[in-house]
Symmetry: C2
Subunit: 193 residues, 2 copies
């Protein structure tokens, strides 16, 4: 296969990249120096090699414990539950939240065959001692709602306050792409489930 | 620097990719297997290593002579002059043109200090024996027009017919992104300069 066509095809498998953009990216790289293309390729491979999941909160990190879980300045009595590591980054950028996180790496979706054992629910259960509040920050769709209700029921006997972020986020949108102000307000206005 | 941030920053240097998309691409790669990320990285490096410019027409190829220049089924009396290798691919996709190409790798732009020696004009002059028609397919903007006039003047004493593709292409648009039908019609309706 032609080396350019191969790169175009691989770029086109990435989200948001169509064939025309893929072609444009491939030709852009052809105009860069060999060295800078190698730097690009090495950064990608290094990232994939070195980044793993935090043993506590399951977000992506290049250490055993992520920067938030190992920080002494975080409120260790609150856990914000999100779907993806990108959601942790989005809430951190919003800047108001000082507690811990837990990344589920998905949501319950019975129709797709994704049950409680397919997301990191047991890992969440195992770290609830000393926790006084669980803030559910899942995407505002059916799967997010199912997962919210499941977690609320799961921890109902533990005497932990369960809240969810305010529904200020437009329905159908990705939490990852909400603007900082909206996200900060949604966390501030969280309500009991 | 954090390995994820580094990849996000590198992705964001690519054309059409903003920071949010760059983040999305980085996290997409984190969810792929190590093997497929390596395949992706290797394809990029291999492309940059193996692709060079055709010694005749100057388009990108992984051989000394590109597939078009080495083909016996092309009309060797016509040369279509374009700015970039992507333009060759666009016209080939349109499917009607059977002659050869010449890639300038740019256009004359006195304001940016790009003169005749900075693009592949001499390489074009050196291959004009036996050529009966030069079809100029440059982008419809000031630089394209300046370059068109310069080439027309440069070859005026050689008795070669100089045409340009019809201005069916919307002014200000990139030739690379024109649709096939428009491009095919523009080549068919070419007129003397």
């Amino acid at each position: 296969m032609d080396p350019i066509d191969k790169v175009v095809e691989l770029f086109a498998t990435l989200p948001t990249i169509g064939r025309k953009t893929a072609r444009r990216l491939a030709f852009h790289l052809l105009r860069q120096t060999q060295e800078s293309v190698e730097t690009f390729a090495e950064a990608i491979v290094h990232m994939r090699e070195s980044v793993r999941e935090c043993t506590v909160c399951q977000t992506f990190t290049d250490r055993e414990l992520c920067g938030i879980c190992s920080s002494e300045r975080r409120d260790r009595s609150a856990i914000c539950v999100v779907e993806q590591p990108t959601d942790v980054m989005a809430i951190e950028r919003a800047g108001d939240y000082r507690g811990l996180y837990h990344v589920l790496h998905g949501t319950l979706s019975p129709l797709d065959g994704i049950g409680p054992d397919d997301i990191r629910l047991m890992e969440l259960m195992s770290r609830l001692s000393g926790i006084s509040e669980i803030i559910l920050a899942l995407n505002p769709n059916v799967e997010g709602e199912v997962t919210t209700q499941y977690i609320n029921k799961m921890v109902s006997t533990l005497g932990i306050k369960v809240t969810r972020i305010a529904r200020g986020i437009p329905i159908g949108a990705d939490l990852e792409f909400a603007d900082d102000a909206t996200l900060a307000r949604a966390i501030e206005g969280r309500v009991p489930v």
